[in-house]
């Protein structure tokens, strides 16, 4: 039974292949740094450098191949965006529609700050002195409730 379940589970996974041979340390550091910037197509929000999926390994191989061929970081990012779109970048550039996502919170922050500043600077309205309204609120001298309170105080 255990063997059957294991067989069923293992059958649904890709056979793992080791990554391609590492480059010399400085170039391999570039490969890893670029891999951290590229999104794994089979995972949820993981970079290809952090994912153990077969597709991510294949993409890391491609990054290594392009670094070994002397391509610049920009050329390598362009290679992936020309195939997967900006979706491939974990940190998309602040341009076009993306610019709105960057600018809108800033605009709201500045707008909110200005609104608060204006409100704070506005002079606080002074409470009106005794007015006709106050007189109206003064209870009449023969108010039975007031008389009751006075009587209570006198005791």
């Amino acid at each position: 039974m255990t063997a059957w379940v294991l067989g069923l589970v293992l059958a649904s996974y890709a056979p793992q292949q080791a990554g391609s041979a590492l480059l010399d340390p400085p170039r391999e550091a570039r490969v890893q740094a670029l891999g951290k910037q590229l999104r794994c197509p089979m995972c949820q929000g993981l970079s290809i450098a952090d994912s153990s999926s077969s597709a991510a390994r294949a993409q890391m191989d491609k990054v290594r191949e392009l670094v070994a061929a002397g391509r610049s970081d920009r050329e390598i990012r362009d290679y992936f965006t020309s195939r997967y779109g900006e979706w491939a970048l974990l940190d998309p550039p602040a341009s076009g529609m993306n610019l709105l996502v960057w600018l809108l919170p800033l605009l709201l922050l500045v707008g909110g700050g200005l609104a608060i500043a204006r409100t704070m600077r506005r002079p606080v309205p002074v409470a009106p002195a005794a007015t006709a309204g106050t007189e109206e609120r003064t209870p009449p001298a023969d108010d039975p409730y007031l008389e009751a309170v006075r009587a209570e105080l006198r005791r």
Binding site: P15, A55, S82, Y84, L100, L104, G111
Partner: protein, 185 residues
């Protein structure tokens, strides 16, 4: 309403409109959908060996007849479901189109068991270390790519293809280049 009130109202309306636009753009699409950027561009060239004979197959030597490339793996359940559709299409339309399977992240032994028996309807190619799959922007399996007779990538289906979709894509592949289906998931 005072002038100040009008300005505040207009500013709030503008901010709301921009927010709604951004949200509509964001929620209007599947966040897991990977865009198909190679549509209308020349299909990346490849040389892969055939799984059965080991003979090399080079894309640039196949021009003249539309090509259907089906990426699959023996460990992929949906590929098993899809394989009969591609095999049937290859048998039925093999005179007009060239069908190829491309083995993705699998051992040759497993791939032979999957594709070799009982029905080797169309040639299977071995993509060593998935180099060619990355060139095509493959994100998983199964995926099927449609290349016209001029070597232009016209369409892609990123889910198990059904007979009706296959017929539609093959019919579109025979038409001159123009607007094509946006069915990409």
């Amino acid at each position: 309403m005072t002038r100040r009130g009008i300005w505040i109202g207009l500013s709030l309306a503008a901010v709301t409109a921009v927010l709604l636009f951004v949200l509509a753009k964001g929620f209007g699409r599947d966040p897991h959908e990977v865009p198909f950027q190679l549509r209308g561009k020349p299909a990346p060239d490849f040389t892969l060996k055939r799984l059965d004979t080991g003979a090399p197959v080079k894309l640039s030597e196949l021009k003249g007849k539309p090509i259907v490339l089906n990426f699959w793996a023996s460990w992929c359940g949906p590929c098993k479901m899809e394989h009969p559709v591609v095999a049937m299409s290859a048998r039925r339309f093999g005179q007009e189109f060239q069908f190829f399977g491309v083995v993705f992240e699998d051992t040759e032994e497993n791939a032979r068991v999957f594709a070799g028996a009982p029905d080797p309807s169309f040639p299977q190619l071995v993509d060593e270390r998935s180099r060619m799959a990355v060139d095509y922007g493959v994100t998983g399996v199964p995926e099927t790519y449609f290349i016209d007779a001029q070597g232009i990538l016209r369409d892609k289906v990123a889910y198990p293809i059904d007979p009706r979709t296959m017929m539609e894509k093959l019919a579109a592949l025979k038409q001159p280049a123009g607007p094509v289906s946006e069915v990409v998931r």
